[in-house]
Structures are given as C-alpha cells and as structure tokens.
C-alpha cells in the first residue's frame, strides 16, 4: 500500500507550478506543417506585459530600497542603543518646518501624476505644466532642507557630534542627494517635453522618471517619521 499525499498538498503544488509557469508565458508555436523550422522565423511578436524600461526601473527601485533599508537599519540600531534620544545638549530637529516641507514634497507627487495623465491623453501643455510644477516643488523642498541644515550646523549639530548628528546627516543627506538626482533627471525630461518629444503613444521616459520621482517622494515620509518624530 503506497501512502498517498493529501490532495490539498498536491493541489497547492500544482497551483504554484502553474503560477510560475504562466509568468510571461508564451504559447508554444504550432508544429510545422511541412517539416523544417515551422513558420517563418521572426522577431517576437508579443508586446511584453511590462516594458523593458519600466521593469528596469522597478529593479532599480528595488536596489534603492535595499540601500535605504541598510541605512535605516543602521539608524535604528544606534537610535535604540542610545540611553537618551535625542541626546542632551544637542539641538532639536525642526519638526514643524520639515512637516510643512513633507507636504510640499507629497504635493509634487500629485503634480507628477497629473503630468503623466496629461501626456497619456496627448496633452503636451499639461505635461510641461505638470513637470514644471513638480520641479518647482522639488526645488522648494531642497531649498528648505538646505536652509534647515545650515541652521542646524550653526547650532552645533555636525556629523562628528555623536550618533545623533551622524545618523541625521547620513540618512537625510542620502535622501537629499537622491532628490538632487531625481531633479536633474526631471529637468532633462522637462526640456524634452518642452521640445514636444512625447506623445500619447510614446512617453515611456516620462513614466520612468515619474516612477523614480514617486520613489524619492514616498521614501521621505518614512525617513521623516523615523528620524524626526521617533
């Protein structure tokens, strides 16, 4: 008598198998009718579910997430190892101003989405307007951040002043650099949009840039809560 595996296990195995096999599955071509290599070879005729550019961007966002996960993990270790946090005799972080700044950055995500929606309808003026507004909001965010940094340095909070300063400047600085990078990219896309390079059918660079912008924007509230509020 052979022990039969419970049907539920079998079903689950078959389901997983099928799920994996179906990712990007292509129907096998029909067998050739007169032998040889079958139907005339050609380039793949399908349009992938997710375009190369978007898939590549998703990969990049995954890598960026892990980079910040490393930094955030480091911050949490140091923050919860400290007996008193924030340490005494060190300047406090500007919670209110930065809170307003957070709203500014979140707004830039909304304008970015409007820009993408505009070009999906072929509205080039809407695209340029949306991208321009996004860039202005992003630059405003960076400006306020820079001003607050300068003030904090003036109050005596520097990278060398213990783990409080080191973690703050490293995490917020890493995010700031990403905003700078995203802003430069956004500028390039904006110039190309200005010149009318995008249309309702061909605007992948806008989508990819918007994805990265959203990544940078939605990373910020996480850092704000962790670094400023906890």
């Amino acid at each position: 008598m052979t022990p039969a595996s419970p049907p539920a296990v079998d079903d689950a195995a078959v389901a997983v198998d099928r799920l994996l096999a179906d990712i990007g599955r292509l129907p096998p071509p029909p067998p050739p009718e007169e032998g040889g290599e079958g139907r005339p070879w050609g380039e793949p005729e399908r349009t992938p579910l997710v375009s190369n550019a978007v898939l590549g961007m998703l990969g990049f966002m995954g890598a960026e997430t892990m980079l910040f996960a490393g930094l955030i993990a480091g911050f949490l270790v140091l923050r919860y190892a400290a007996v008193v946090w924030p340490p005494p005799f060190q300047p406090r972080l500007p919670i209110e101003v930065t809170g307003v700044n957070t709203v500014v950055l979140l707004l830039s995500s909304a304008t970015m989405i409007r820009a993408v929606r505009a070009i999906r309808r072929g509205n080039q003026a809407g695209l340029v307007g949306g991208l321009g507004l996004t860039a202005v909001l992003g630059a405003a965010f960076l400006g306020v951040q820079g001003y607050e940094w300068a003030r904090l340095v003036g109050f005596g909070l520097t990278v060398t002043s213990g783990s409080y300063g080191a973690t703050f400047y490293t995490l917020i600085g890493a995010h700031g650099l990403h905003v700078v990078g995203a802003l430069i990219w956004l500028g390039i896309v904006l110039v190309r949009a200005w010149r009318g390079r995008f249309s309702a059918r061909a605007h992948t660079p806008v989508v990819v840039c918007a994805m990265y912008w959203s990544f940078v924007v939605f990373l910020w509230p996480v850092l704000y809560v962790l670094v400023y509020l906890t």
């Binding site: 290599e37 990969g59 490393g70 605007h203 660079p205």
Partner: protein, 581 residues
Amino acid sequence: MSHPTAATATVHGAHHELGFVRTYIFSTDHKMIARQFLFLGLFMMVIGGILAMLIRWQLAWPETPVPGLGWLLTETEGIIPPETYNMLFTMHATLMIFFVIMPILAGSFGNFCIPLMIGARDMAFPRLNMISFWTGAVAGVLMLAGFFVKGGHAAAGWTSYAPLSAVPTYTGTDWGQNLWCISLIVLGASSMMGAINYITTVVNMRAPGMTLFRMPLVVWSLFITAILLLLALPVLTSAAALLLFDRTLGTHWFLPAGGGEPLLWQHLFWFFGHPEVYILILPAMGIASEILPVFARKPIFGYRAMVYSMLSICFLSWIVYGHHMFVSGMDPRVGIAFVLTTMVIAVPSAIKTFNWLGTLWGGSILFTTPMLNALAFVGMFVIGGLSGIFMASTPVDIFIQDTYFIVAHIHYVVFGGSIFGAFAAIYYWFPKMFGRMLNEPLGKLHFWTTFITYNVAFFPMHILGVGGMMRRIYNPTQYEFLQNLQWWNVLITWGAFALGLAQIFFVINFFWSLFAGRRAPMNPWNATTLEWSAPSPPPHLNWGDRIPTVYHGPYEYSVPGVPEDFSPQTRPLPAGAAAHH
C-alpha cells in the same frame, strides 16, 4: 524609447561595420562584454593568485626572505612584515571574490549565456551593459590603486570588521581602506546595472516558445543570481559608505566612542555576505546542471526540482546570515533560529546534488574537459557543503570558528565549487565564445594537475583547523601547540605552488587556442540549447534575420523515437516521442 527591443536594432545595426573602438572597447554587444569580463576576471586571478602564493610562503617558512622579492620589500630584505601579511590575505580574498569569481561567473557567463540561450539578439539595455562593464573596470582600477598608496592596501580582512577597519591607526592603512570602500561602492553600481539587465532580459526578451520552464538551468541560475545581486549589493554599498564616513568624515557609526555599534557592521556586512555566497555558487550550480546532461547524454534529473531548489536557496539565503556571527555576541535564541535556517538551506543544495547524481546515473558519460571540471565541481561542492553543516551547528562552530577549518570550507566552496564551475564553463563555451576549440589533452592535463594539487593545498587545512590553527595568524610557529603541525603547512604550500604552476597549462591552452586552435563547428558537443544554433562565434545580434523558435525543453537527450541522441530546442519532437517537458 517605448520598446527598445532588438527589433529596431536589427534593422539599423546589422549591416554596417563598427570601428575598432565600438567593436572591442566600448562595445554594446553582450558577447564582447562577456569576453571583456572574462579577461578582467582572469587578469585579476593572476594577481589574487600571486598574493596567495606569498601568504603560503609566509605560513610555511615564516619570516624568511621571499626569493626574488628583495627589491620590493627593501626594508626587510624580502621578509614579509606582519602588516603586509594582513594586506595580503585581505586583498587575496577581496580580489578573488569581487574581481575574479563575480566577473567571470556572473559578469562573463551571465552576459554570454542569457541572450544566446533564451534566443534574444542582445541584452534588454545594451548600452547600460557597456556602462556596467566599464564601471566594473573602474572599480578594479580603484581597487588595484590601493596597493600603491601610502600605508598600503586594506589590511582588516576581507570582512573589514569594525572598529579595526574604521580607525586608520588600528591597521596602519590610510587610503588603502578608503579605496577599498570606494571601489566596492562603484562595483555595487556596476553589478546593479548588470542585474537589472539580466532580469529584464530574462523576463521580456525570450524567443517565441521559450517559456520559463523551457529555460536552461544556467539561465535560471543567473536570473536568480541577478535577483540576489540586485538586492544584496546595495546593503554592502550602504555599509561601505558608512565605514568610509567613519574613516573620513569623523562619524561614529561603528565606533562606540561616539555612540556607534561595532556589531552593526557585522550585521550589515553578513546580511549582504550570505546572499553573496550564493551569488558566487549559484551560477556554478547552473553551469554544472548545463554540462552534466550534455556529456551524460541524458535529460537532467528533476528539472523542476532544480528550479524550485534554486528559488528556495534565493529566499533562504536572506535569513541565514547570523551563522557568521555565532561568537560575535548573540542571544542564544537567535542563534538557534539561525542554526535551524542554516540546516534548512542545506536541503535544496542536497536536492541539487542528488539530481546531479541522478543525471549521471546510467548515462553514457563522455569524460571531456568541461565534464571533468563539472564533475569536480559536484564532488568538491559536496565536501564544502558538508563542512558548512559542521559550522552551522553552534557547539561545533564555537570550536572551529576562525580556524583553518573555515579557510578549508570557504576554499572548497569557492575554489572547488565556483572556480571549477568557471573552468567548466570556459572549456564548454570557449568554442562558442571565440570560435575555436581548446586543446583537449592540454585541458585534461590542466584539469588533473589542478584537481590533485588543489586537494593537496586545501584538504589538510581541515586538519590544521581542528588542530587549532587560527585563521589570519602571521606566524604559526610562534605557538607551541602548532609546532608539530607545521609540516602540514609546508605540504600545503608546496601544493599551492604546484596549483599555481598548473595554471600555466591553462594559460598556454587558452592563448594558443585563441589564435591557432581548431575552428569550432556550430555545435561541437551535440548540445540542444539555443546558443549552439548560432554560428561560432555568433555574429553581432547572434542570429541572421530570424530568431529561433523553441519547441521543447532544454535537455532532450536520447529521446526514444529520435534517430540522433540529442534534439535541439529549435527542432520539434516527432509526434509520439516522449517529451520530458
């Protein structure tokens, strides 16, 4: 730019000649980039190997002048000083891991195999691919530059544990360690670009009929490696950046004096480090899975089990890293969790090993050079895997931690595993890569001399480790309890020298065959996968004006009802023939 697939490239790229620079230097052709990565890796292997020889000299005949090195070490008249010794083992490991195995397995064969074996004309992002290689080359130059700066290169071990690595005066290295950090950050960017390319190519660029479960296992292994590269290297990047800040900006991430945590480095490093182990070994597993069926003339045993075991390794490799830190200070309950996960990750590896044996069972085995190297991979990986289980168990680990037992283990995995896998791949794909056959007798001579001397060099390290010889010590003869084991060190060193000399056969074979080898036919091994349906070497964009169509799985050897003993993936199986997939 909406769909930068190869379709547009065919029309514009196929019919005009590119200049020398675009063909050989800043090439976007995945096969040329594969060759570039291969040469980068082999060049670095020479440097890493010389460092290993110097380490072995010191351990066999401590504090005696190295012959022929008096001109370099003028102050000591050829004797290796302790701080130089620290640099030697640090840089041997760093170069071999990051600039030999990763470029050869993931860089070179990832680039070569993925498009050719899934039926794509090139990578999804050819230009990004080119940038990836040149970024990697810059990282290599930065890493080598560290040898020439004041204070010497990084000397805190390849793991660069803080605080030793975080304060310049502790090791006496100043810009060496900084360059080490910067180089690895740059290399992280290079590997990220490569990984994004591999993943996108595998997901989007497969030829008609090439379903995921018709992909050759080496493509699966490289795909999974790419996922690990994409997600693990950024963690190293973050750790290296923090270390660099500690060293240059005066932060205190890893220094207790300013509220930092030395253990944080170990956590970040090994969170990257353990997936890294699988980044080094998974492609070699894929290569062995590719070569064994070809020369056993049998389908791979348990194709899906192979895929699922690699996927489970991919997942589990994230939750085992704590086994590197059993003696670093850890709650025993956490230790037990890591013991269990580590034991569990041995299961998929064992499944793979049994499947390899099942593939060989009853096969008509052809002992070609690639096959011999693939078989050596299986055997040596088993030894390395089993010694890993010793260390997974905390009570045993406490005894053998940081001894030569771990040195033996790592070399059985990354030399016995990855390097034999790399040699197998080079012997197997050389005809396709360069259009010429390697010399078989010379290849076999290289294999047997390497295999024997490799075991002479590394097996006794287990004995030394259990005997108590600590890892990274400068002079084993200083310890009384090691003195009657010293003859093992001398034997190992002779084995290592012979191993180094045995590679001369490979170098001769490689370069002689490159220029004067027999011209390779399209399919010299009678293999089934798609790369053998392209000319040797494949032209730019791989196939003429038509992409191959795939009708069945990759390992249809000796199919009943088919006159030949192999059925290429481009040829439909006759009705009634027993298809395996």
